[in-house]
Symmetry: none
Subunit: 239 residues, 2 copies
Amino acid sequence: MEETEPFDNLTALEELLQIHFHDRALLQRAVTHHSCCPETAVQDSYDTLEFLGDAIISAHVVEHIYRSFPEASEGEMTALKSEVVSRRILARVGQQLGLFPFIRINLSILRTFNERSRDSLCTDVLEALVGAIHIDQGTAAAQEFVTRTILPMVEHINSQTLETNPKGHLQKIVLQRSRSLPRYRVLEQSGSQNDRIFLVGVFEHETLLGLGKASSIKEAGRIAARQALEQLPKKKDLS
Amino acid sequence: MEETEPFDNLTALEELLQIHFHDRALLQRAVTHHSCCPETAVQDSYDTLEFLGDAIISAHVVEHIYRSFPEASEGEMTALKSEVVSRRILARVGQQLGLFPFIRINLSILRTFNERSRDSLCTDVLEALVGAIHIDQGTAAAQEFVTRTILPMVEHINSQTLETNPKGHLQKIVLQRSRSLPRYRVLEQSGSQNDRIFLVGVFEHETLLGLGKASSIKEAGRIAARQALEQLPKKKDLS
């Protein structure tokens, strides 16, 4: 499996990360699976760096969510954080960064190796690299790396929830701020029997939040919810 | 219940924390249970600050463990961290700090109130205070506060468990993950009558977790437990 051979090229990895390490042994360790060093895994594999990086990533993600969504409840923050730091999402970040070719692993001792193993390794190594950057470069550098590579997923995942389920998303927000449910009303029907167009409005109490027009009431409601969400005051205060 | 009345004295609390807040509303919020503000809990109670503080405490505890025990395995680090950031231990820290009298809570809406509620509130508020300090005073101040109040527990717990009681430590972990107790079996005896060597294995169900060899069964068991702890598989969240 040629493609899984490590380049063993720390300089290329440093370029990829845009970080020059003081202690390159630490960088090497961050990409070394314990299968490469069964006898000295504690010292030479990424396991403990991954443990460290995992906690650091969580703290930065949580802080970012706390600052970006000041009106969110603790439950909403928890749900968003869990998704962002899930192994699935971190694997995607690691794969997109292009970490895989740099990972040092002894394939012969692994029973199976498939796309999931590849994802899993990318998650591990992304976490370990954050740990290594934190130790080698300090808190601020690790935060900068996490901000550059992982935090964009917060907005991405949040907007996905927003796009795929605008009504659920709007309901959460309205419930939270006014303890009422948003109400959808058909305001107008037009068109012929087989070509109806519905105009739906979504209301918080008596206040119109958004309008949607579509050939089904359901879709018009989704559009109305999306419009309502787009017009919500954006609460951002990143510092 | 006079003793549960809050002093409502932020200055005294600042003295206790040895921190002077820029934004005292944030400090007030960090000690306010949502029972005091059911209508505006998301904005005015400590819930989201607690969520933030929890992640920050974990990161500092993990970093401290990583730096203090460079020879520990990821399994040992995980076990130690879980214990330090457990609600039981954080409650003890909060109680010892003397946080309880400062907590604002509406007792009339709580069904029961006992020593456990008191512990639980102290845990919450300790976490929320770390979140508030992090936001109000910055990363370094929060780290300093955690170093002063929580990190001493790392050494305390480590000396209690890892070194003195590997069997108890292993039992906790095995109980937690498989609801069974680890079993110790003498696998081999060798040596002469007065110079016996015992080989003891520790098992989780039928899986061998570790081996130990010593001149007493008890000591061989301890060594087996320590080996098992070193080789603990890593916890992974679902992907």
